[in-house]
């Protein structure tokens, strides 16, 4: 055959093949429940292990991607009413965002129905409430994650110092420990949410007003205490590895593991990685403490039920309830602070997770974001302006004032009455 009749034959065959792959018929035997999340050990464990085989006749399939992609996929899917999303990972702040847009199924009735069978009272009320919006329960809480202080205990012991309890102490220690090979401190300011997490702590530690008023959502970050917080961040940046403006939690973890940073704020879920000899050069040298000044972020993490899914809601709830059973949650304790009290207070689990002590202390003063569902859009504006302040493009007060103006305008446009 000539070259071209070969091509034509191939084209015809491929067209036929392509046509054959028109939407496949779902098998009538088992239904597939698609669970979506960003990839981290917590979601891998719960979706790929704990939820498997939870309800007979239903196959749980895991769909993991990066944090950004997951967020986009979910937003686009939920906004367009896609039936692809059966269960999604969520945290308190996302519950509020999606709940407000009516994208989730309320599950109060199911919670009541299965309360006894699955011992749901084992999960403290205030944790369950983090998954509520407007009084309705939308998410099933599996655990908590919080940010606390990581520091090189061996280096601290050498100098005979203790972990800082105030921000000023933190800056002084960072300066003292800073060397060209190893930064005194670490900042993770990649837009949007990574940066927001770090800034949330700094604003809260600087004073009681945080960055937005909790009730009216009026910006408070451009008040004197907020300005002071950012000035402090600017000071800290001198003792942080360069590139902190695009540093994300992964890069930060690597910095700790490679001994390139002495102390800084990080998620509890990263603590175990410090002691993993396959990854870390500082096994056993990192210790944990509540962050100076308190007020760092705590999130309740779990899964929610999109209302556009085509799988029966009770089935989906039961999958979650099964995966949350105490035996299974014990396996998950390595990856997040468990929501069940029985599991959390188990002494064995506490022993094998030495960061739990710091985590529990941190939670006493920790706060989640102000409960505004549009926190992500607000965060985008705030982080961008803070970046400009930190790169000296404009003075700190001006940057924060600009941001305050833009945030106020945005929130008014979304229907909030800000004075």
């Amino acid at each position: 055959m000539t070259y071209y009749s070969r091509i034509r034959a191939f084209a015809a065959a491929s067209a036929a093949f392509a046509a054959l792959s028109l939407p496949g018929v779902a098998s009538a035997q088992t239904k597939t429940v698609d669970v979506f999340s960003h990839r981290y050990p917590f979601s891998e464990y719960y979706i790929e292990t704990a939820m498997q085989g939870a309800v007979p006749g239903y196959d749980v399939r895991s769909n993991l991607s990066t944090f950004q992609q997951f967020g986009e996929k979910v937003r686009i899917g939920l906004a367009s009413g896609s039936d692809e999303l059966d269960l999604i990972h969520c945290q308190g702040s996302k519950v509020r965002e999606y709940g407000k847009n009516d994208w989730l199924e309320p599950i109060d009735d199911l919670w009541e129905k299965y309360r006894v069978e699955y011992q749901l009272d084992d999960i403290p009320e205030n944790i369950v409430n983090e998954m509520r919006y407007d009084g309705k329960l939308y998410g099933f809480p599996f655990g908590l994650n919080t940010m606390f202080f990581f520091y090189r205990k061996d280096l601290f012991d050498e100098k005979g110092v203790k972990p800082p309890t105030t921000m000023e102490e933190y800056v002084d220690l960072a300066k003292a420990f800073n060397t060209p090979q190893r930064s005194g401190s670490q900042l993770t300011l990649q837009p949007v949410e990574t940066a927001l997490n770090e800034l949330h702590w700094h604003f809260n530690a600087a004073g009681p007003n945080g960055w937005l008023d909790d009730k009216t959502f009026k910006p408070t970050f451009n008040q004197p205490q907020g300005v002071k917080a950012i000035e402090l961040v600017k000071e800290l940046s001198k003792y942080s590895p360069p590139g902190y403006l695009t540093n994300d939690n992964n890069a930060a973890t690597v910095n700790f593991q490679q001994g390139l940073a002495t102390m800084g704020l990080q998620w509890a879920s990263r603590a175990k990685a410090m002691d993993n000899p396959e990854q870390s050069k500082v096994v056993g040298k990192i210790d944990f403490a509540p962050p100076p000044g308190g007020g760092s972020r705590v999130v309740v993490i779990g899964f929610c039920l999109p209302s556009s899914s085509d799988i029966d809601r009770e089935v989906r709830f039961r999958i979650l309830a099964e995966a949350s059973k105490a035996e299974r949650m014990r396996g998950g304790a390595d990856f997040s602070i468990p929501s069940r009290l029985s599991v959390l207070s188990d002494s064995e689990i506490q022993k094998s997770n030495r960061h739990f002590a710091a985590a529990i202390k941190t939670i006493e003063t920790a706060r989640d974001y102000p409960p505004v569902p549009e926190y992500s859009e607000v965060g985008e504006i705030l982080v961008r302006r803070v970046h400009q302040a930190l790169s000296d493009e404009m003075p700190v007060q001006d940057a924060l004032d600009e941001a305050a103006g833009e945030v106020t305008e945005l929130l008014r446009k979304r229907g909030y009455d800000i004075q």
Binding site: R75, P191, P242, L260, R384, Q388
Partner: protein, 290 residues
């Protein structure tokens, strides 16, 4: 000539396909630009005429992303062209082994952009990226590749050049092959130096190809997204935020699809103007070649 009229049929299958598949999304995207469309509340979309465009033009962020785009696109296309031409000329002058070099140099072009971006990130990330880590073994510290507004722009230009110089090399080398040898040989006999040959013989002969390659690269440089997104995310602040990254932020982070669509239309107009200008500049006197 008459026989050419029938040739429109040859183009028909392509048209039909494009019409069926792409024109609707294209027009629908353009149409969105005159609506206030917040993706979260699709049913509340209202017609707002040119408001989106006016909002864009009066905001500083549009102008800064435009200037970033011009700078980054201009810098990369220039770098790619100069480097690409230089390497193509070297390959052309090489008597043996050109094929090996050429094939090896194709690798950056062929690797998936997302993957390439990751590779580049591991080069440039602060402290433990390959560049900084290597400098550290000589006790030197490199500039803040990804964290300083000025250096980040340069890093992005380098990243684009890394990925697409092979394209220039490939196409220009092919063009060099098709230049009539006699022209070059007779030029040499007449005593022309290398530079004179380049300027008077080679570049004019390559002109249609140079046009093709510059136009494609300009269009692509304006659409450049994956690599910047992974390397800097448009940061620090908005230092490397190009039009496409800004469009992404508007559409997928702020969920303001109407405004994003308006920005898309503006980008379209800008690129068209640039393309036409480039074609005009290169072909001021001749009309037939394009």
């Amino acid at each position: 000539m008459r026989w050419q009229k029938n040739l429109w049929w040859f183009a028909a299958p392509s048209f039909l396909l494009l019409a069926a598949v792409m024109f609707y999304p294209l027009f629908s995207a353009i149409r969105l630009s005159v609506f206030d469309y917040y993706l979260v509340r699709p049913n509340d979309a209202t017609f707002v005429g040119l408001d989106n465009y006016i909002d864009l033009i009066t905001e500083g962020r549009f102008w800064s992303s435009l200037s970033n785009t011009m700078l980054i696109a201009g810098g990369s296309v220039l770098l790619e062209f100069v480097l690409g031409l230089a390497v193509a000329l070297c390959l052309y002058s090489l008597q043996r082994g050109a094929r090996l070099f050429l094939v090896l140099q194709l690798f950056p072009l062929i690797i998936t952009p997302v993957v390439a971006a990751l590779f580049l990130k591991w080069m440039f990330v602060a402290r433990w990226g390959l560049i900084d880590a290597s400098l550290a073994s000589f006790d030197l510290t490199g500039p803040n590749w990804l964290g300083s507004p000025a250096w980040a722009k340069l890093t992005v230009i380098l990243a684009d050049a890394w990925k697409f110089t092979p394209f220039m090399i490939l196409v220009l080398y092919a063009g060099l092959q098709s230049i009539d040898r006699n022209l070059i040989d007779s030029g040499r006999i007449d005593g022309a130096s290398g530079w004179q040959l380049l300027y008077h013989v080679i570049i004019p002969a390559l002109r249609p190809l140079i046009l093709f390659v510059l136009i494609i690269r300009i269009m692509d440089a304006f659409r450049f997204f994956d690599t910047i997104y992974v390397l800097t995310g448009g940061g620090p602040g908005t230092a490397t935020e190009t039009l496409t990254i800004y469009t992404f932020s508007l559409g997928f982070r702020q969920l303001e699809m109407g405004k994003a669509a308006a920005l898309g239309v503006v980008t379209l107009v800008l690129v068209s103007v640039l393309v036409m200008a480039t074609a005009y500049l290169l072909y001021r006197r001749e009309k037939g070649a394009f």
